[in-house]
């Protein structure tokens, strides 16, 4: 305790500053949204009348059920895609494992709404695939009809959450877990049902609840597919068409937050007290076996089919961006660079804004993330856990809710010099992005800090470095890899954020890439240039993801030496 007493004011002041920031830009706006939802629009008194109205309106009831249906079906379809892939990689010596791992992150580098229109052209009623099926078999499959389209697009994009979590859970099962069961007489499906499946369950549920949350909150995909009767789109439509005072947007927001919290709670329950990572030092994961030739062919067939499916939005987007006219045909009639030219005339502003907003937001996230990590793990400041908790809580706040909250809260707050309400100043977009992506950067920073042994700091202090000097010369350099990884993750995901941005962009000149794609995709003529812009977005995010992957790999290699030393001590 003593060693903190002398320097308590430094981190203390920092903690108060961060606390204030989170209070103003996270707690107040969200609190405001919830409060308004329970407020009588005319008298201002607390009431449940808005909720009664909500459930008495058939459109909203339908939207609610649709959202639930789409989210659950997306979990089911994502599971159907992810389960075989996870199984192949963890149980067999399968050359396609690398393919699966790569394939696992490709969908994540593009938000679902970007590829939605391209998917319509590939899988829609008159899309390429159905034209071919119709030619050969004389019928069509309604892949993209109504809610099916949303489910398909969301599943293709979010199944990696299940794949990654489930694979990790399977890989973390020590071989001895399985062998001891065999030794006691279990085999085959009984072994799987009683040992492997329960041990992998927490990982699966964590992934599945994340998919549920993402799909339930998504706004861009249904809107671009012209599906308006879902919750998140309704929230946006009510606020943008009827106005900021319409209580229905707030009611929907409360429901969105409630379901997000529910999904996180389920995932928390699944993982709580079940750190099933059982791999020992030197122990391998589950037993792998070689595949017989025909099994190998079967596995590759499944993997390639899924890969084609997963890449279809990207393929479609590329075709769309280079195609001339693409309608009622398998492929576009011809190819051209013209869309990129058209796009470029208006897009340089979008790209500049995106780099500026996402860059600033990621910078804020890393600074806050490092500070919060340090305060939580290295100081005894009272309430430090709350700082962590609240910052992580941003995960549960859908972008559209944060957007509505900002509009409502900051619309009357005039920024002095620019003489604008804060709610319509571009800086608010940066703040929204920073708040939304803070959990990602914070996790990276905490992981980085936890790998720095306290003893390394104590050694520096023992040699005469003050707390501040220790942080600067020891902690930050050792954390730099993690901080950089956190920056890139925040940057990449902020660059394609749409839901909060959609609410907060007040002038064309302030709009970022995601908003630009959205704008272009609204009209048939804009689809080509919009797809071109989408390709640019994929490239930005793809490069950023690759960079962060390399950074993490490099730091892990460097870490391994220090980790051994720390472990022995």
């Amino acid at each position: 305790m003593d060693r903190f007493s002398k320097i308590q004011w430094g981190p203390g002041a920092l903690a108060i500053f961060i606390g204030l920031f989170l209070f103003v830009f996270l707690i107040v706006p969200v609190g405001k949204v919830i409060f308004v939802a329970f407020q009588d629009p005319n008298t201002g008194a607390l009431t449940l009348v808005n909720f009664v109205d909500f459930f008495n309106t058939s459109l909203f009831r339908e939207s609610f059920i649709n959202s639930l249906y789409v989210a659950l079906m997306s979990v089911a379809l994502s599971s159907a895609i992810a389960l075989p892939l996870a199984y192949f990689t963890t149980r067999f010596n399968f050359g396609g494992a690398v393919l699966i791992q790569t394939l696992g992150i490709i969908p994540l580098i593009m938000p679902p709404f970007v590829g939605a229109v391209a998917m319509l052209l590939l899988f829609g009623e008159n899309g390429s695939v159905n034209l071919i099926i119709n030619d050969w078999f004389g019928f069509t499959i309604p892949f993209m009809e109504g809610l099916n389209g949303v489910i398909l697009v969301e599943s293709i994009h979010y199944f990696p959450f299940i794949l990654i979590n489930l694979s990790a859970a399977l890989l973390n099962i020590d071989r001895a877990m399985e062998e001891s069961a065999q030794n006691l007489g279990a085999s085959g499906t009984r072994l799987f049902r009683r040992i492997v499946f329960p041990l992998a369950m927490p990982g699966y549920i964590a992934g599945a609840s994340l998919v549920f949350l993402k799909v339930f909150d998504d706004i861009g995909t249904p809107l671009l597919l012209n599906i308006n009767n879902m919750l998140a789109p309704q929230a946006y439509l009510r606020i943008s068409s009827i106005g900021i005072s319409d209580p229905m947007g707030y009611v929907i927001s409360v429901i969105l937050v409630a379901f997000s919290l529910f999904a996180l709670w389920v995932s928390f329950l699944a993982l709580k007290g079940k750190d099933y990572a059982t791999v020992q030092k030197g122990g391998g994961g589950l037993m792998k076996r070689d595949l017989r030739p025909w099994e190998k062919i079967g596995c590759y067939a499944v993997v390639i089919l899924i890969l084609l499916m997963v890449l279809s939005p990207h393929i479609g987007l590329a075709l769309l961006s280079f195609g001339t006219v693409w309608s009622f045909s398998v492929l576009p009639d011809g190819f051209t660079w013209a869309h990129y030219g058209n796009m470029w005339r208006t897009a340089d502003g979008y790209i500049y804004n995106t780099l500026l907003y996402a860059g600033l937001a990621a910078l804020i996230d890393v600074v806050l993330g490092t500070a919060i990590a340090y305060i939580v793990w290295r100081t005894k400041i009272i309430g430090r856990k709350w700082l962590d908790f609240i910052a992580m809580g941003a995960v549960a706040i859908p972008g559209v809710v944060l957007g509505i909250g900002y509009l409502r809260t900051f619309v009357e707050f005039n920024v002095p010099i620019v003489d604008k309400p804060l709610a319509s100043w571009w800086v608010i977009i940066v703040v929204a992005l920073a708040i939304r992506r803070l959990p990602y950067a914070l996790r990276a920073c905490v992981a980085g800090l936890q790998q720095v042994s306290v003893m390394l700091e104590e050694a520096a202090e023992n040699l005469g470095a003050t707390k501040y000097r220790t942080v600067r010369r020891i902690v930050v350099p050792l954390m730099s890899g993690a901080m950089l990884a956190g920056f890139v993750t925040s940057f990449a995901t902020a660059a394609v954020e749409l839901s909060a941005t959609l609410m907060l962009v007040s002038a064309q000149s302030d709009a970022p890439l995601a908003y630009g794609i959205w704008e272009f995709m609204q009209s048939a003529a804009g689809r080509g240039p919009g797809a071109g812009l989408g390709i640019i977005a994929v490239l930005i995010v793809g490069i950023a993801t690759y960079v962060s992957y390399r950074i993490i790999q490099r730091t892990e290699r460097q870490r391994s030496v220090g980790a051994v030393v720390a472990e022995q001590a």
């Binding site: 062998e179 069961a181 065999q182 040992i195």
Partner: protein, 364 residues
Amino acid sequence: MTDIRPEAVGVTIEDVSLSFGTTEVLKGITLKIEPGEFFTFLGPSGSGKSTLLRAIAGFGPTPAGRILIGDDDVTHLVPWRRNVGMVFQSYALWPHMTVRKNVAFGLEERKVGAREISSRVDAALDLVGLREFAERRPSQLSGGQQQRVALARTVVVEPRVLLLDEPLSNLDANLRVQMRRDILELQRELKLTTIFVTHDQEEANTTSDRIAVLNDGLIQQVGSPMELYDNPANRFVAYFLGTANLIDGRVEFEATTPVFQADDGTRISLAGRELPAGAGTAMFRPQDLTIGKAGADDAAAGGVVLPGSIRHREFLGSLVRYSVRVGTREILVDDSHHAGGRIFDVGEDVDLHLDVDRVQVLGV
């Protein structure tokens, strides 16, 4: 436990070889383990001892050769049909099941009735003294308790053979001594043929009826702990079990008397021994020498006198171990210690008296 236990069975290993890819891990192992015996595979890491144990349990690639449990050839049998109980180094307790469920697992797989399962699980937990922990999760137990659960989970199914894969390596020193006694007691009580894998000579010596010393995929020697210590078959066994002074040289004959001629010129007459001539290694333990002042005519000590000077001294409580420079080599000597006893200092010149009767000549 039920009163009538199955008759203890032996394990026969016939010319077993096994490779991982191009690496030969076992190179023709032949062994016979007697029914009811506490048998140990002792060897350094990479010696193949764990691989051999796992082959008996049916894990890993199918080896060449034959493995018999009792009279049954199990070489090609799947692990879950062998009925050999294995305790894993990591214990491998399933974290999603309570202690009771863990212990009941094997009986459930054997389709034993619910009532019998319940009573046998209770009995097994009583045996390891963990009845009151039955409803806990493995993560709520200490390492030693987890070890006991793993043991209970294995013996409850009444396996024909008990296999222990370095079961004590994850415990701290005090607990290790306690656990190895408990395991031995349990083994004696159940009269269960047991194979124990370890790299720790003390563990092997204190528990085993017989030990097989393995190195580099080959059996170096099989015997009781004392036989191995007193009559090691080769350098490796001499070095791995206890501390040994090893001097390379050759056996020559002066008339009919064999003499060990060390490479550095030291000669040790081995009158009355029957030894073949040729290259060999003289081996003697630190306690086979006595240490005395240089030049002192200590006729009582007798034996060959090796003059040298003290390089290091380690005080080990009941004895003092000196490292003495003799010619170009260092010889370890143990001198028993008691309060007020004689102590030599580093740098002091001393004479070592070697009792030649205790010198063994090992083949190359």
